[in-house]
């Protein structure tokens, strides 16, 4: 089965073939995969070279001209390197775009820190009004892309090499498992390992591939009067903590945040599994953290 990145590229090609108002902007990354689309639509499949500031600004300019831009590269360069362009050329101008990244927090661990961007969602979260999708399966990535192209939203679609075994195409916080002791929220690729970690635990497992806007009502409906919440995100630990706190502001609650570490830069190469362990995001580490939290 194609992975998320391959699925995105095939879907983007379908979209640009059928919708004359959509343009794809690239900065070398993935350009070879879209070479055929670029030959067919040279005005609307644009590779600006290794120029990420221009990548985002070009997307903004296309939107000013009435087109719907899909802007794609690795998240370290799309969100972190070009953040002022995202803030000013898209948000401040009130222009829409679909930003699609690949790389996640450590999809390419052998490339080292330069290709890791666990802070991308937190950065986007500093701007109002963005949709942030973190699909957990290639089919979710396809659906979320198809859903994002109509209209003129500002959308960030964060693809990853890590994925769950089956897709969940619902909207908002979806109940995967019902329990009474508390609630675990699994974001995107974290679901399978959360299900494994909570095997035999009496907890509700909620899943979402959309973290902004955050489904506060869904969370309030799930917690009832036992408001112990564990949030398992595949990026910077606690990125959505303020959303949970706001959703539960009127009831006593405890919150456990799991995600990539804030206290240290993880300066290792190795595999994604190695990084899962260092960040405590493998199933075993998640299970230990949850047991301590829910029995505490």
């Amino acid at each position: 089965m194609p992975n998320m990145r391959e699925t995105f590229l095939a879907t983007a090609e379908e979209i640009v073939n059928t919708d004359p108002d959509v343009a794809i902007v690239l900065a070398d990354i993935s350009a070879a995969s879209l070479a055929e689309a670029a030959r067919r639509h040279p005005d609307r499949v644009i590779n600006v070279g290794i120029r990420e500031q221009l990548l985002v600004s070009t997307g903004a300019g296309l939107a000013l001209a009435g087109l719907r831009p899909i802007v794609h590269t690795f998240n370290a360069f799309l969100v972190e390197r070009a953040f002022e362009q995202i803030k000013l050329d898209l948000s401040h101008q009130e222009l829409g775009a679909v930003l699609v990244s690949y790389g996640a927090s450590y999809d390419m661990p052998m490339e080292g820190r330069t290709h890791q961007a666990p802070g991308d969602v937190a950065l986007i979260d500093s701007l109002p009004g963005w949709y942030v999708h973190v699909p957990g399966h290639p089919e979710e990535a396809r659906r979320l892309l198809l859903d994002s192209v109509p209209g003129d939203s500002r959308t960030y679609l964060r693809l990853s090499a890590q994925a769950n075994s089956v897709p969940h195409l619902g909207v908002g916080l979806q109940t995967i498992r019902q329990g009474t002791r508390g609630v675990v929220i699994a974001v995107g690729p974290m679901l399978d390992r959360v299900l494994q970690a909570t095997e035999g635990m009496d907890v509700t497992v909620l899943y979402t591939s959309t973290v902004r806007p955050f489904d506060a009502e869904g969370l309030r409906a799930a917690v009832w009067d036992v408001a112990d919440v564990a949030l398992v995100e595949p990026y910077l630990r606690g990125t959505s903590a303020h959303c949970v706190a706001d959703a539960l502001a009127d009831r006593p609650h405890r919150l456990l945040n799991l995600g990539t570490r804030r206290d240290a830069e993880v300066r290792i190469y190795g595999t994604r599994a190695d990084h899962d362990l260092v960040h405590g995001l493998d199933a075993g580490s998640i299970a230990l953290s949850l047991k301590e939290f829910f029995t505490g």
């Binding site: 005005d43 644009i46 120029r51 600004s57 001209a65 050329d89 009130e94």
Partner: protein
């Protein structure tokens, strides 16, 4: 303005500019652009309040948002804004700030202030209008010091390689770049394949000719030389 019967002209601009006080450190910036802005809005660009939403209109993207007094004065003269708004500019009640906001002020195509954004956005706009088969012109105005920002250089290369011949970059050169571009502004654009013209930023006929003489297949850079910043 509410009772005037004839449209204000170039001669009114100094008076309009003088209504906007309080941004004295950027008066040089405003003064440097006034003639270029006037020629563009009066004689070159096909745009106005009555066609503000026409998809095929020409576009003017003020990249150098600092010192927008001359810009606002021209927008008043061309009917986008009311003269009565100028004296209160930059207050919490006003929609006119020290940097223009496209969401608030009519006629403003981009919000600017942080340098090095207008030309890269203009590249995208030129690509988009070309894809939609419009023949609109896209003109962006930058300062010589603004060219210090590296983002411009990403755009300069790509605009020429992609043959964006509807795109014009006006560089208002008042020699305010800290490390300077001795003769280098025109050369920078030429090297990448732009048509380049260097003219006096005060000579309306020369500016008009520079903007309107054809330059097939290439984007156009017009370097408009004005008095060095602080010289007057």
């Amino acid at each position: 303005m509410t009772t005037t019967t004839s449209e204000p002209g170039y001669a009114d601009l100094p008076r309009l500019i003088s209504l906007m006080t309080g941004d004295d450190k950027h008066h040089a910036a405003a003064e440097s652009t006034v003639d270029v802005l006037w020629v563009l809005f009066d004689r070159v660009l096909d745009l106005g309040p009555e066609t503000a939403r026409r998809p095929g209109r020409d576009r003017f993207l003020l990249s150098k948002g600092h010192g927008p007094m001359a810009y606002y004065a021209v927008l008043v003269a061309k009917g986008w804004l009311d003269e009565d708004e100028l004296a209160d500019w930059s207050s919490a009640r006003s929609r006119l700030g020290h940097h223009p906001d496209r969401v608030r002020a009519p006629g403003v195509e981009i919000s600017s202030g942080s340098l090095g954004h207008g030309l890269p956005i203009a590249v995208g706009t030129a690509l988009g209008l070309r894809a939609r088969r419009f023949s609109s012109r896209i003109v962006t105005l930058v300062g010589d010091a603004e060219l210090d920002e590296g983002s411009n250089h990403e755009a300069i290369v790509v605009a020429a390689r992609l043959g964006l011949d509807k795109l014009t970059t006006v560089v208002v050169d008042n020699q305010s770049s800290t490390h300077g571009w001795p003769g280098g502004i025109a050369r920078r654009f030429e090297t990448e394949g732009w048509a380049v013209r260097t003219v006096s930023g005060r000579d309306h006929e020369a500016l008009y000719d520079a903007f309107t003489t054809p330059h097939p297949g290439r984007p156009l850079a017009v370097v408009t030389v004005v008095e060095p910043k602080g010289a007057h």
